[in-house]
Amino acid sequence: MSATVPGPQGSGAGAPALVISGLGKRYGGVQAVDEISLELGPNERIGVIGPNGAGKTTLFKMIAGDVAPTTGTVELFGNDVTRTGTARRARMGVGRTFQVSNLFRDMSVIDNVRVAARGGSSKARIFWWPQMPTDDVSQRAGEALESVGLIDRRDDQVSDLSHGEQRQLEIAMALASEPKLLLLDEPAAGLSAAERTTLRQLIEELPRTLPILLIEHDMTLALGLTDRVMCMENGRHVVTGTPDEVREHETVKEIYLGRRDKK
């Protein structure tokens, strides 16, 4: 159903980056995600919104490979990866950030990004030679830091970064791995208004050829940055459409403006 709604950027420019069909996850008595289907075109940006506990992160984890679905399938770049592990999917080109910053706390900022830039490639297995401050990995890491505005802090320890800087580093690490599909899980969580603006610019300036799936609790941010939006509630699909369609949707209005938590 949702798969038939073409994005403004248009499909047909090659195989979709991601196809999920009938994806579901049950935790004991809780149906965290219930029969979700979605197709992400090669140049498309889709937002996933919904209240806390809607199942957004669980959906993400099934796409990344951290959680095995109880029903449904996941396809990446035309390959069925439902039974493929996280590391393999990452090497296929999935880059992701975490809702709760997940960094190497006892390493410097630049080393965090270097490890990300090597990914699981053979470069990461070189044990007979020190890390080089000038090689292509360090260069790529530096560029990623530059793009998120963290280059001045490259030699600081991660534990000395502010919350906002840690969120930026999350993105730098995902970018340094040169993903072919970017999954962002609430990148704006806990950011100040000013930091949100910077983040918004950063995401806007990413190349249009990079497909993005953006989870965001904040509706304004999610709707402003994406071509299409899917809203979830209690694990179930509510609506998928253009930002305007979703903004005007009755149930979405109810969820975001009505009875429940507003922010």
């Binding site: 990344a64 951290d66 592990g85 996280t86 590391a87 393999r88 990452a90 090497r91 999935v94 992701r96 975490f98 997940n102 960094l103 190497f104 706390r105 006892d106 390493m107 410097s108 080393d111 270097r114 490890v115 990300a116 090597r118 990914g119 699981g120 490639s121 470069k123 990461a124 297995r125 070189i126 044990f127 007979w128 030679w129 020190p130 890390q131 990995v137 802090r153 030699d155 600081d156 320890q157 534990s159 000395d160 690490m173 791995s177």
Partner: protein, 339 residues
């Protein structure tokens, strides 16, 4: 940076000079054998320090890897095999045992890793005890010969010093390599590493093979020093003492394991002549270090230097430069190799 470098560089040169000079300044054979024991224990502790400090894997059965290698050399020597074969057998056993440890523990972490390595250590101990046709059972194997070219006490001593310097340098290189950085990534966040495309178990296995090889080499050297191996070398208490050495000296420091080994060996050998209950003394020292110098002896020393250095640079320098240093405090993490 440069001053810390200079201090650790100076310390290395001084230590090396003392080690080289010992036979010339008339050290007794007792002192030489004590220093030799410290060097071997330090090498073994370094191999464990690499595993704990970089990969976050605290093996509770590391002593048994060295023991297995020692038994290999001992058995070969008793069969009258030449030293080359002796070394090959010790190396082969080391690789097989390390691989077993690595394969069985690579999917575990934390307390489960501890339990798996503990159990494997106990298997080695059990074999040493029960498989008496090969191991000599309770009596162990004695009269093990070392190769001709290091037959003299002083040639062997210098061989030990060289071997220690070499393995320490090798481990330091591995630790600073991309692979070392990958291991620290796994130590800090396994989930992140997986989502970056790293096959975490394979890296753990690699770390174990490197660490185990160094441990096995230390086991071979110990059998050449004492000409003897018995089940107690594979005992759990030996592995626990290794962890004590690493923590005493400072996890993740290059020379911490040596200092930790020196403290433990000296307390065990020198103090045991004076004091009946040397483990109590060691326990007291351990508690004091944990309470007052959590980063270990070398680690705390590095921290102190770092703090002094920062105070020295931040006061007189112009504000622009001071800002680079002060706002974060940029402390040198005790787990990042500094000395």
């Amino acid at each position: 940076m440069t001053r810390t470098r200079a201090i650790s560089g100076g310390a290395i040169v001084a230590l090396l000079a003392v080690a080289v000079a010992l036979p010339y300044i008339g050290a007794t054979s007792y002192v030489i054998s004590l220093v030799s024991t410290i060097l071997i224990a330090g090498m073994l502790a370094s191999s464990l320090n690499f595993l704990i400090g970089d990969a976050g894997m605290a093996s509770l059965g590391h002593g048994a890897i060295a023991a297995a290698s020692a038994y290999g050399a001992g058995w070969a020597s008793k069969q009258g095999l030449d030293p080359g074969t002796q070394v090959l057998i010790a190396l082969g056993i080391t690789l097989v045992v390390s691989f077993m440890y690595g394969i069985l523990s690579m999917r575990t972490s934390g307390i489960y890793f501890l339990m798996v390595t503990l159990a494997l250590g106990m298997v080695v101990y059990g074999l040493a005890f029960r498989w008496s046709q090969v191991t000599g059972g309770e009596n162990g194997i004695s009269g093990i010969k070392r190769p001709e070219f290091i037959g003299e006490w002083w040639t062997f001593y210098y061989f030990l010093v060289g071997a220690f310097v070499l393995t320490t340098a090798l481990l330091a290189v591995v630790s600073r390599s991309p692979f070392g950085a990958s291991l620290r990534g796994i130590r800090d966040s396994e989930t992140r590493m997986r989502s970056l495309g790293y096959s975490v178990p394979a890296y753990r296995l690699g770390a174990f093979m490197i660490s185990g090889t160094v441990a096995g080499f230390a086991g071979l050297l110990s059998v050449w020093l004492t000409h003897f191996v018995s089940p107690s070398t594979a005992g759990v208490h030996k592995s626990v003492l290794l962890i004590v050495m690493v923590i005493l000296g400072g996890v993740g420091t290059v020379f911490g394991p040596l200092i930790g080994a020196a403290v433990v060996v000296l307390v065990e050998n020198v103090l045991s002549n004076e004091v009946e209950r040397w483990p109590t003394v060691l326990g007291l020292i351990f508690i004091l270090v944990i309470l007052f110098a959590r980063a270990g002896i070398v680690g705390s020393f590095n921290k102190l230097i770092g703090r002094l250095k920062r105070r020295a640079t931040s006061t007189p320098s112009p504000p622009a430069e001071a800002e680079l240093v002060t706002p974060s405090g940029a402390p040198v993490s005790e787990r990042n190799h500094t000395a």
